[in-house]
């Protein structure tokens, strides 16, 4: 069997480890996958927060005052789980690029 090579990482020399070591926390731009995006009906939204609990990318922020929902469009994959789970149907999926 081939001997595993000592792969240097950018950590100090005494912490060198065998094998690949993940040491950078990254996030992919999953927002680029989006075909549809959620649109909020601000009057129907009761700010219950169910959408943000079920959002796989945790990209929805629910503010109790002011603007009801904030989306992080860099990460929203456009899966539509938020719109499907909304108890008041306040969210609807519209094609990316349409709307405001």
């Amino acid at each position: 069997m081939e001997k595993q090579q000592n792969m240097p990482t950018n950590t100090p020399a005494k912490r060198r480890v065998l094998g690949p070591c993940s040491h950078i926390l990254v996030a992919a731009n999953t927002g680029s996958w989006r075909m549809e995006r959620p649109q909020v009906d601000e009057e129907a939204c009761i700010r219950c927060g169910i959408c943000s609990k079920y959002c796989p990318t945790a990209c929805i922020t629910v503010n109790k005052e002011g603007c009801p929902l904030e989306f992080d469009w860099h990460y929203c994959k456009g899966c539509g789980i938020c719109a499907n789970e909304c108890p008041r149907q306040a969210l609807s999926m519209i094609p990316e690029g349409s709307g405001e």
């Binding site: 993940s22 950078i24 926390l25 999953t30």
Partner: protein, 290 residues
């Protein structure tokens, strides 16, 4: 030391290359939020390997190791034994594996860890096939479900992991579902307080493999609870506790029509599946009454 190229939400970074509509992110986020930063993750290859990282890039802020498919429970047991030797009684060891790495390939190492009662939390997220490698049938695939290795529908029933775990008399085991997040969080919290080998079996429907619209993940999981295809239960100190009784026990009509993997199912097969679900639930009810 971890270099932060992005700000994580909780302990998990936001942009992870899981499919659209996949809820593993939610499982990881909730589990790690409850378990805290003082946790070591053991992750076998599979969809969950997106989290332990690829090359120098990681997606979780807690330390972890990616082992092989067959030995995630053994690695976790080894880490727990090391902590015990060091006198460290606060760090939690959590293994998160898919159904293939639990009921098929990793069953012997999990069985060993449960027998020795190592101080680990083993979480199996169950999407009922080998989804990461191209939807091959696993022993968790239900009766009549079509996969690439069982194109005409699986001819036999799935293994019941909860009963295998219960036969090992572990201190705590529970099944949960992503359709019921408060229940899932309650069970993880309970598992955190208990010492010994704890097993959680969490349903996580797969939009790619099951063939439904990606927005329906939670709806499909909820439907599975309502017809008894997924039973929410707890096993603690030898006592079985069932959740609320399914409202449409054995009625799989709607559940099957939602998914493409049950497209070619005949009415006889549907009756057989429904009968099996009722039988299993009645058996569990008898266990709970003991």
């Amino acid at each position: 030391m971890l270099t932060y190229n992005t700000q994580p939400k909780g302990s998990v970074s936001q942009g992870i290359n899981t499919c659209q509509g996949c809820m593993i992110d939610v499982i990881f986020r909730n589990v790690l939020e409850i378990m805290g930063e003082d946790t070591v993750l053991v992750i076998p290859p599979g969809c969950s390997a997106q989290f332990s990282g690829c090359g120098p890039e990681a997606s979780v802020t807690v330390p972890g190791i990616q082992g092989n498919l067959e030995n995630s429970a053994a690695i976790a047991a080894g880490i727990a034994a090391g902590f015990k030797y060091q006198g460290n009684d606060h760090t939690q060891v959590v293994a998160i594996a898919g159904d293939g790495a639990t009921v098929d390939i990793g069953l012997q190492s999990l069985s060993g860890a449960m027998e020795r009662n190592d101080n680990i939390l083993y979480i199996c997220y169950d999407n009922e096939a080998y989804m990461n490698t191209g939807i091959q049938g696993s022993s968790s695939t239900p009766l009549a479900a079509s996969t690439t290795t069982t194109p005409a529908g699986k001819p036999v029933n799935s293994k019941d992991l909860m009963q295998i775990v219960m036969a090992h008399h572990v201190p705590y085991a529970a099944s949960a579902s992503i359709a019921n997040l408060p229940d899932l969080r309650k069970k993880v919290k309970k598992a955190k307080e208990i010492k010994g080998c704890r097993v959680l079996h969490i349903m996580s429907p797969c939009p790619t493999g099951w063939g439904y619209k990606m927005s329906k993940t939670v709806e499909v999981a909820r439907e599975a609870i309502q017809n008894g295809a997924w039973v929410l239960m707890e096993y603690e100190d030898g006592k079985v506790k069932l959740g609320k009784k399914p409202s449409q026990l054995g009625d799989v009509e709607k559940y099957f029509s939602m998914q493409k993997r049950f497209k070619g199912v005949t009415p006889e097969e549907k009756d057989e599946v429904g009968r099996h679900l009722i039988e299993r639930y009645e058996y569990l009810e008898k266990l709970a009454a003991l």
